[in-house]
């Protein structure tokens, strides 16, 4: 059957080429650089399938409803906003999107991440694939997210909307940044942490999405230790000790059992931030997302800090 395809494809390709040369009115193809070279699209994509939440939210923010989405249930719990469209095809888990469901959704563009690069060929048989890297461990995640947002906008022919959105984001971030700094005072830095379990925490540095957004807001990031690809450091609670004088914000959702144990542990209680009431709980926001999540993070951080610490 592969042989069949091998025979048919060149024929179709030739036909397409002849067709293309015979219609001079056609616009130049859209070219987008991605992990597999340059993707060419003749027309902007209308039917987009998203394999990663960061792309899902970006496409929605650009005013286009994705036709197929991976892991929509967990999206609701972990990304929360923007809302998913009324109807779309559920692709199942992000690590192994259902190929038959994807095919049935008839996408004209699939946006995916290199993490499931092993499935690239299979996806490419269904529709053109845009494989975009979100984290590389060196570049600030917000910068990458902006670039990815731009590429998605180009692929879907919404560059004007994207520019407008990004302008609003820049403007908002500066405004939020000023508000946060007023609320916490000029000398305070902020630590954004999340809890693995009752004794292990992750702590975002300036290359992570929350960290790089804070940098853009001109809010100082406290943590400057070693980090992994996603820009966070990880360890026992003692990893927080050098930054105990700063303000601490933890992300949700966290299972209640873990949160209770952790907030009542002696080491937590002795830290300067919990003694002097500088602990804040952030509502649900996706810390590994795209530009919309970045903006949402900035807004929630500002509102959380302005409404005062825990307890």
């Amino acid at each position: 059957m592969n042989i069949l395809r091998a025979l048919v494809c060149p024929v179709l390709l030739c036909a397409a080429l002849i067709g293309a040369t015979m219609s001079p009115v056609m616009a130049d193809p859209i070219e987008i650089e991605h992990e597999r070279g340059i993707l060419q699209l003749d027309t902007p994509a209308k039917q987009v399938a998203t394999i990663n939440w960061s792309f899902t939210e970006s496409v929605i923010a650009l005013g286009l409803d994705p036709v197929a989405i991976a892991d929509p249930q967990d999206y609701v719990d972990w990304v929360a906003k923007p809302d998913l469209p009324e109807s779309f095809v559920d692709l199942g888990p992000r690590a192994s999107p259902n190929l038959e469901a994807l095919r049935a959704a008839k996408p004209d563009l699939i946006i995916t991440v290199p993490d499931i690069g092993m499935a690239y060929e299979k996806l490419a048989e269904i529709a053109p694939v845009l494989e975009l890297k979100l984290f590389d461990g060196k570049r600030p995640a917000f910068e990458t997210a902006r670039e990815v947002f731009g590429k998605i906008a180009r692929a879907t022919g919404r560059e004007t909307q994207a520019q407008a959105y990004l302008d609003t984001v820049d403007q908002k971030l500066i405004e939020y940044g000023k508000r946060v700094k007023t609320a916490i005072g000029p000398d305070q830095k902020i630590n954004v942490v999340f809890f693995f379990d009752e004794s292990n925490v992750g702590i975002f540095a300036d290359t992570s999405l929350p960290g790089s957004v804070m940098t853009a807001m001109d809010v100082p990031v406290a943590y400057d230790g070693e980090v992994n690809k996603w820009g966070f450091g990880r360890g026992g609670l003692e990893i927080l000790a050098p930054y105990a004088k700063e303000t601490l914000v933890y992300t949700t959702p966290v299972p209640e059992v873990i949160l209770n144990k952790l907030l009542n542990s002696p080491i937590w209680k002795v830290m300067d931030f919990s003694r002097n009431n500088r602990v804040y709980e952030l509502p649900v926001v996706w810390a590994y997302g795209g530009v919309p999540s970045a903006l949402r993070f900035a807004r929630l951080l500002t509102e959380t800090i302005e409404s005062g610490p825990q307890q």
Partner: protein, 670 residues
């Protein structure tokens, strides 16, 4: 000569080596303690730091609420697990038994994963009982499968592997549906000793201490047990009750430790086994030594691990580290353990033919054809059955389905041939391809390449995996060259390799973020990523090797009847057996490259074929292939359609079918 005199002689002869071992570990422990305590010893505020830390001094708080409880937990967990291991080894009279090898750990872990993720908070108080039940049920299942077999030692280990695999599949299914919490669960699952208070210590110490006292009190009767049921029975001990009581206590210790600290592998196996090798034979001595040696050993390992974690970056879980230290130890132990080849008479009961072989073969072939057609044209879409009609995309859908269905079937065939060869040459009906360790090594190479070195392309991964498989074959050859009972050592080397893989996988999974769930489904065996070209290549290899094996059916017959006297006479491993094991390993590696390290098909298909009456080598091979292909075809369809649009790894379904089969077999036997 009086017994007392004999014992004295015994004491003088044997106590020295274990005592030296424990002494060295004790001194190292002291060094660890001095290093940890030094800042306070030097300052002279050690009593304050120990008992009532200064609330304003963070270092003291950290010492009091993190370092100290971590030391205590490491000692308690090590001591508890080593004692549990010693008790289980003595009761079952099996030097390779332990909480990890007999599925107890996996049972507790499965129960806890289930409980933590699914039970409502109001049931939290039943968590411990639930974990304990999980451990006991797992041990019970292992015992049930292995009971009344001719060669209890080997059967227990193999049954333990089956149950371990099943429970791991179970845990994985649950985890695949709770992706977001994977990191936390894996951290705990990998045995994490990080503490931030005395809560866990307070949970563990009364339980472990109570059980220790109880087990030590029962250790005199244990010595009677060690003499064998007949002797102990005639001496008046209520053997069964005593056995169950001690096993129950050992499982309780394991459950408590795992609840608090997660899986800490190999302490329970390696410590008592090492002490036994060092010359301890009486159970009371063995247990007392195990408590201290185990405690010291884990404390020292944890100290080393802490030094790595202090450097920042991702923490290394202690439990996974112990498995890395412990697994090579099994290989060393093989030189000491006395494990004799099993014999085929074990399965006499099932050798009556159920139906005629011809009828069965035809039935299997027919079901194969119908099954393939069904697999390709019928699917579930969440509402009900859908029959593929004729549209533009139908051809592409058919190609997609056939890639996956054929990949599963070819794997079934490759593993069936591999398993038949291993079971025949190894003369053990419970042996299977994955325990040669070749598939584990192949998988390990691919995982390291993917998660640590960042190779993402399938072609690269295949090449690296193949290299890993070949390297492990060479290691296997080197290790087995000197052994006389090579097939069995090969199997147990495989056990160690599988354990090392398990440890590495746990470490990688705690650190690889969003790739984790993809790795997990691949590890469980998925056809998601296969392409038709790969299927064709593996099909070619499998076909060629199957024909070769059938051509060699006569010598294979002789080898499996045990007429090859040279083996039992210790004259070295026969070249033929060796070649057959190699063939089996190549097949297992090819199957792993195609869909991941699948379990069970290679174990179940040949076994079922023989039970169904395919007794001669040639028929056995063909029968196993027919069964393997059928089973994998069914598993593949279920995996793709059961919970649409999500898809389970095919290997998980195959594992569930396989374990179900063995449990039914075990129960029917009674």
């Amino acid at each position: 000569m009086s017994t007392a005199a004999a014992r004295n002689a015994d004491l003088r002869g044997t106590l020295s080596l274990p005592a030296i071992l424990t002494g060295i570990l004790g001194i190292l422990t002291l060094v660890v303690l001095v290093i940890d305590f030094w800042p306070y010893l030097a300052n002279g505020n050690i009593t304050q730091a120990l008992f009532s830390p200064d609330e304003t001094d963070f270092e003291q708080i950290l010492f009091h609420f993190s370092t100290l409880p971590r030391l205590a937990m490491a000692f308690l967990c090590g001591a508890g697990l080593a004692l549990a291991g010693a008790a289980i080894q003595t009761v079952l009279r099996n030097p390779l038994a332990s909480p990890t090898t007999l599925g107890v750990g996996a049972g507790v872990e499965f129960a806890l994963t289930l409980f933590v993720l699914l039970a409502p908070a109001s049931l939290a108080m039943f968590q411990e009982a639930f974990a304990l039940a999980g451990g006991l049920i797992a041990l019970g299942a292992v015992y049930l499968i292995a009971a009344n077999r001719g060669n209890a030692t080997l059967w227990l280990i193999l049954a333990g592997m089956i149950v371990n695999l099943l429970l791991q599949s179970g845990s994985q299914i649950i985890l695949l549906f709770n992706e977001q919490y994977l990191q936390s669960i894996f951290m705990w699952g990998a045995g994490d000793l990080a503490q931030n208070g005395w809560e866990d210590t307070q949970f563990v110490w009364p339980r472990v201490l109570m059980c220790m006292i109880a087990i030590l009190a029962l250790s005199r009767p244990l010595d009677l047990l060690a003499l064998g049921d007949d002797t102990a029975g005639s001496l008046g001990a209520k053997v069964t009750v005593l056995r169950l009581l001690i096993l129950g206590l050992a499982v309780f210790i394991t459950a408590s430790v795992i609840s608090a600290a997660g899986m800490i592998g190999f302490v329970g196996l390696a410590i008592p086994a090492a002490l036994r090798i060092a010359g301890l034979s009486r159970s009371r001595d063995l247990m007392i030594y195990s408590v201290f040696t185990g405690g010291f050993a884990l404390l020292i390992v944890d100290f080393v691990v802490r030094q790595f974690n202090g450097l920042g970056g991702d923490p290394l879980p202690t439990g996974a580290a112990t498995a890395l230290f412990g697994a090579p130890f099994i290989i060393f132990m093989l030189r000491k353990a006395r494990i004799m080849p099993g014999n085929q008479n074990d399965d006499q009961h099932s050798d009556q033919q159920i139906i005629s072989k011809t009828a069965l073969s035809i039935a299997l072939a027919v079901s194969l054809v119908i099954g393939v057609v069904f697999s390709l044209f019928v699917s579930l879409d969440g509402d009900g059955f859908v029959i593929l009609g004729w549209q533009d995309s139908s051809l592409d859908i058919l190609i997609g389905r056939s890639e996956r269905t054929f990949a599963a079937m070819i794997c079934g065939a490759a593993l069936a041939v591999s398993g038949t060869l291993i079971q025949r040459v190894g003369r053990n009906p419970l042996a299977s391809p994955e325990i040669t360790g070749v598939s584990s090594a192949t998988a390990l190479a691919m995982i390291l390449a993917l998660a640590i070195f960042g190779f993402g392309q399938r072609a690269e991964l295949m090449a690296i995996g193949a290299a890993g498989g070949i390297a492990s074959l060479l290691v296997l050859l080197a290790l087995c060259r000197k052994f006389t009972h090579a097939p069995h050592y090969m199997l147990l080397n495989g056990l160690a390799m599988t354990a090392i893989l398990g440890a590495m996988v746990r470490i990688v999974l705690t650190q690889s973020g969003t790739q984790t769930s993809m790795l997990m489904s691949w590890l469980a065996g998925t056809t998601y990523f296969t392409s038709m070209d790969e299927v064709m290549i593996v099909a070619g290899i499998t076909g060629a090797l199957l024909i070769l094996a059938i051509a060699l059916r006569r010598p294979l017959e002789l080898a499996s009847l045990g007429t090859d006297q040279s083996v039992s006479l210790g004259l070295g491993i026969s070249g033929f057996q060796f070649a057959m094991m190699l063939l089996a390993a190549i097949l297992a590696a090819s199957a792993t490259l195609l869909v991941g390290p699948l379990s069970f098909v290679g174990l179940m298909a040949p076994h079922l074929a023989r039970v169904a009456g395919y007794r001669l080598a040639g028929g056995h091979l063909l029968g196993a292939v027919l069964i393997g292909v059928n089973v994998m075809m069914v598993a593949e369809w279920l995996a793709r359609n059961m919970i649409y649009p999500a898809q389970l790894p095919t290997g998980l379904i195959a594992a569930l079918i396989g374990t179900g089969y063995f449990l039914i077999l075990a129960i029917r036997k009674r």
